[in-house]
């Protein structure tokens, strides 16, 4: 540990603050790009901050049918993603907390969030929310599989199960690992869209309950719980974005430059999502598994290439 403790602490602090404070920017960016491409003015970039502030002051409605589980969904999402954010490296510095197996914990924290979100949805007794949660759990296994196969491909060289090591692998820079890394990137990009409920898997802006996945699960939330839901969604964008950026960002060797690259990367990613959402249309529900399967296969091939 040549790195002075102070600098390291500063980096950690920066990462935590970035996650806490800046993630609501990302949905704003995406919406802005979409609006621009559609020729509209669109909501301001900071719209989500306004929404969160407004919702914090509003009364929350709790249906008669619900139990304490109803609140657990939004709460757990935010808590789990926050903890997960400590495990993923932003830029190319090691994550604030890193140890063997943090990659697994990372994924399982998302699993936890999903579990409680689904239960919160079922807690309302609404058939819409049951439908949404059924869809959620149907697509999630494929997404998880794609991520883990990507891990397998990345760990083929190091055998490490820590995100900080996995994402520090040579990646695109190295000729031999170029093709696998591209495939993993493709697979993870699909997962990124799916996990964050973006087009072509899900449409965050839809208003028809029957076609929703994630949005329909949180249909009954209002007030502060809804604020948590929205905040959690933006956190997920940021944290999963970091995972993808780890694969593609060039290594500068200078921490502050890395930070800059990371920030730029997050913005580009958001812009990319906006572009994708503008130029593609929603997939039919039955096609979603096939789309995710492409992601799984991409990751699987990445591993298989390394095996031969």
């Amino acid at each position: 540990m040549a790195e002075p403790v102070l600098i390291r602490s500063l980096h950690i602090l920066l990462q935590v603050l970035a996650v806490l404070a800046l993630s609501p920017l990302i949905p704003g960016l995406i919406n802005r790009v979409k609006a621009t491409l559609a020729g509209r003015t669109g909501p301001p970039v900071l719209q989500l901050y306004h929404d969160l502030a407004k919702l914090s002051g509003k009364a929350a409605l709790f249906s008669r049918t619900t139990t304490g589980m109803f609140l657990a969904g939004p709460v757990a999402t935010v808590a789990a993603v926050l903890v997960a954010s400590l495990l993923v490296p932003f830029g190319h510095l090691p994550a604030p907390i890193h140890f063997q197996g943090d990659a697994i914990l990372f994924i399982y924290l998302f699993g936890l969030a999903r579990f409680l979100t689904v239960l919160a949805a079922l807690d309302t007794g609404s058939s819409f929310e049951g439908m949404g949660s059924a869809r959620e759990v149907t697509f999630a296994p494929l997404a998880e599989l794609a991520i883990f196969l990507g891990f397998a491909a990345l760990a083929k060289a190091s055998g490490s199960a820590s995100l900080s090591d996995l994402l520090a692998s040579p990646g695109l820079a190295h000729a031999r690992s170029m093709a696998p890394s591209c495939l993993v990137l493709a697979g993870w990009a699909i997962v990124y869209l799916a996990e964050n409920s973006r087009i072509p898997v899900d449409d965050p802006n839809t208003h028809l309950e029957l076609t929703m996945i994630h949005e329909v699960m949180v249909l009954d939330h209002s007030g502060r719980p809804l604020a948590l839901v929205l905040y959690g969604a933006s956190l997920k964008l940021m944290v999963l974005g970091a995972l993808i950026l780890g694969l593609v960002l060039p290594r500068t060797g200078r921490p502050w430059l890395d930070w800059g690259a990371f920030g730029l990367g997050q913005m580009l990613l958001a812009a990319g999502v906006g572009v994708v959402e503008s130029v593609t249309s929603r997939l039919a529900m039955a096609k979603v598994p096939q789309f995710l399967m492409v992601g799984v296969l991409a990751s699987a091939f990445a591993f298989l290439i390394l095996l031969v």
């Binding site: 609140l71 059924a134 759990v137």
Partner: protein, 645 residues
């Protein structure tokens, strides 16, 4: 040693006083089994914390059969779930299966015997002793499965279990014959080097795998398990699922401890079987409507996870990677304990639910979290743990196995580590779907039947054992460092040489810290979210139409439908409904059912056809004396021909 024997005797006799009293038999039995658990756990803790182990040679009988017991860390480790679950089960049984039940006395007596036989089995160090305990346990369990023998389903389940376990025992005969042939003794011990790779060694491995696989419910040998677990009283199911099927794992561990040089393909076989059991187990669980059958299929899934760990450990051992070995075996062993705790917990709470609602059908339940908050919390802890979600114990053991797979990736030229990894990921996600369904449909939403609406909380004596098991799940999940030294000793006993300590391979304190952080954040946010203004007496969002009725809720079938119908090639779901054709259709019904592909798809039709074929041979015994005499002549003729040739 005396503590172990005290535990054994107390458990064996725990049902006896109840035979002679009209009331309080359950309490006495629970007290004795709890005392037995205290004694046995003390002994296990002593050995696992480095205390001296003991061995005992029983006197040989004139026919050469002898017996031996050895209380080593393996035995001590496996003894823990045995005693914990039997004690919890017996306390639970006081009110769950009270004295006025037809079979209450028999049930208590048998539960004690089952505990004693299983406790004997874990310490058996001789093939005869092992077989006696093994078969004793199986037969007693058969009587327990068939407790409610007035019901045809229970009889069928019991029979299926009985024949499966006996076939397993016979395979064990053969496997022991081959190993005893190699060592020249019935005593457990190291097999000569090279035996494992020989043809006889492979045959023995195959037979062991059949036998232990049948016991453990490894797919495709799991076919007996769902119906047996569903038919048995819930505290027996909890013991069977938590402990009894693990004796198959115990057998595999014992086998691996005798083999100095397991071939590479053994590990591969374990991984392949583990992946198959895990994925198919959970996929089949998804389509179940019967709560206990659903849990039973999850036992198959968890056996798959354990096998993945054993397989990776064996791969690591064969190739000389001690870290992979320690992580694989360690994870598998910890999962044995963990699964005992959370599956025991789940079965106990499922039993409470079934008793309160009078049905095991998920689609008749709903909204029970309000009526049975304690049971709901217990089930939630179990579900949380079994999905392997942090910060509970299921996550820790799965993490070990994941790490073994990760560490095996760089050097392995085989696809096994990656398969293990992918399988674990898939299993985890599917298990999550399944338990979201189970908890959501049973406890959340609105009651789907009058019985569910009228349900009442289980009595305290049933909730206490659930609480104990839930605490166990939490404890291991939050402080896995406590279990690590015991696992290290277990591994050393198993492989005969010191393995790298697990604590050096996994940063266990980080897990504890992060779990704490997660809980703290959760509590903080929850407080914040609750502090705002709220309105509580409102209906669920109904799109502005008439209020939704409970019948409109998603059911267990509809929840799982999209997943189950995505895998028709593996699951063979059966759907019965009339397609709507006209513009103004009549009311129609939709039923989906997920039969077991091995039992209902292959096994029963095959046996049916075989039996039919054999029945056709009956014409050989058609009652005509001349024909019978002809058999005598023909036999004589053929034998003479044999002599001439």
């Amino acid at each position: 040693m005396s503590l172990y024997w005290t535990a054994l005797l107390l458990s064996a006799l725990s049902g006896v006083p109840g035979l002679f009293t009209a009331r309080k038999g359950g309490t006495v039995s629970a007290a004795m089994l709890t005392l037995a658990a205290a004694c046995g756990l003390a002994e296990a803790a002593r050995v696992l914390s480095g205390g001296s182990r003991w061995a005992l040679q029983l006197p040989a009988t004139p026919l050469g059969a002898a017996g031996a017991l050895a209380f080593d860390p393996i035995a001590a480790f496996f003894l823990i779930p045995v005693l914990v679950l039997s004690a919890c089960g017996s306390i639970y049984g006081i009110r769950y299966w009270p004295d006025h039940h037809e079979n209450a006395r028999r049930l208590r007596l048998l539960l004690g015997l089952l505990t004693a036989f299983t406790a004997l089995l874990v310490a058996a160090a001789h093939m005869i002793t092992f077989l006696v305990a093994w078969e004793g346990m199986a037969i007693v369990a058969f009587f327990l499965v068939i407790t409610e023998d007035r019901e045809a389903a229970a009889r069928q389940a019991g029979w299926l279990y009985l024949i499966s376990t006996h076939v397993g025992t016979l395979c064990l005969f053969g496997a022991f014959a081959l190993t005893a042939g190699a060592t020249g003794t019935f005593q457990f011990g190291l097999l000569p080097a090279g035996f494992a790779t020989s043809a006889r060694g492979s045959a023995a491995f195959g037979l062991f795998l059949l036998s232990f696989g049948l016991k453990a419910g490894v797919l495709p040998l799991h076919y007996w398990l769902p119906s047996a677990h569903a038919a048995a009283p819930s505290h027996v199911s909890s013991f069977m699922s938590g402990v009894l099927i693990k004796t198959g794992i115990l057998g595999m561990i014992r086998l691996l401890s005798w083999v100095p040089d397991p071939p590479l393909w053994w590990g591969g076989t374990f991984v392949a079987l583990g992946a198959l059991s895990g994925i198919m187990g959970v996929a089949l669980a998804l389509g179940q409507h019967d709560l206990k059958r659903l849990l039973a299929y999850h036992s198959i899934e968890n056996i798959g996870i354990i096998l993945l760990g054993i397989g990776l450990g064996t791969l690591g051992r064969s190739t000389g990677h001690p870290a992979v070995m320690a992580l694989g075996y360690g994870g598998a062993m910890l999962h044995v304990l963990n699964h005992g705790l959370f599956k025991g917990l789940l079965f106990l709470s499922a039993g409470a639910v079934a008793q309160a609602t009078g049905t095991r059908n998920l689609d008749q339940m709903g909204g029970l979290a309000k009526a049975m908050p304690g049971t709901a919390r217990a089930f939630l802890v179990g579900a949380w743990a079994i999905c392997g979600l942090p910060p509970l114990n299921g996550f820790v053991s799965e993490l070990f196995i994941y790490l073994a797979a990760f560490q095996a990736l760089p050097w392995s030229r085989s696809p096994w580590p990656a398969l293990a990894l992918a399988a674990l990921a898939l299993i985890g996600a599917l298990a999550l779907a399944c338990f979201a369904k189970a908890y959501g449909i049973v406890f959340l939403g609105a009651p789907r039947s009058p019985a569910a609406a009228a349900a009442a909380e289980a009595p305290r004596s049933m909730r206490v054992p659930m609480g104990i098991l839930a605490l166990g799940c939490l404890l291991i999940g939050l402080a896995p460092g406590l279990a690590a030294p015991a696992l290290d000793r277990l591994l050393q006993a198993m492989t005969g040489r010191p393995a790298p300590p697990l604590a050096t391979l996994v940063t266990l304190p980080a897990l504890t810290a992060l779990a704490g952080l997660l809980l703290a954040l959760g509590l903080l946010l929850r407080r914040w979210a609750k502090r705002g203004a709220s309105a509580r007496d409102v209906p669920t969002w109904d799109c502005g139409f008439d209020p939704a009725t409970p019948r409109m809720q998603y059911t267990a079938s509809s929840f799982a439908d999209s997943l189950v119908s995505a895998m028709p090639w593996a699951l063979w779901p059966q759907v019965r409904w009339r397609k709507l054709t006209t513009l103004f259709p009549w009311p129609t019904r939709y039923e989906s059912h997920l039969p077991d592909p091995v039992l209902d798809g292959v096994g029963i039709p095959l046996l049916e056809r075989l039996a039919h074929r054999l029945e056709r041979l009956r014409f050989f015994q058609a009652g005509h004396l001349p024909i019978y005499l002809l058999y005598v002549m023909v036999t004589l003729f053929l034998l003479l021909l044999w002599t001439a040739v």
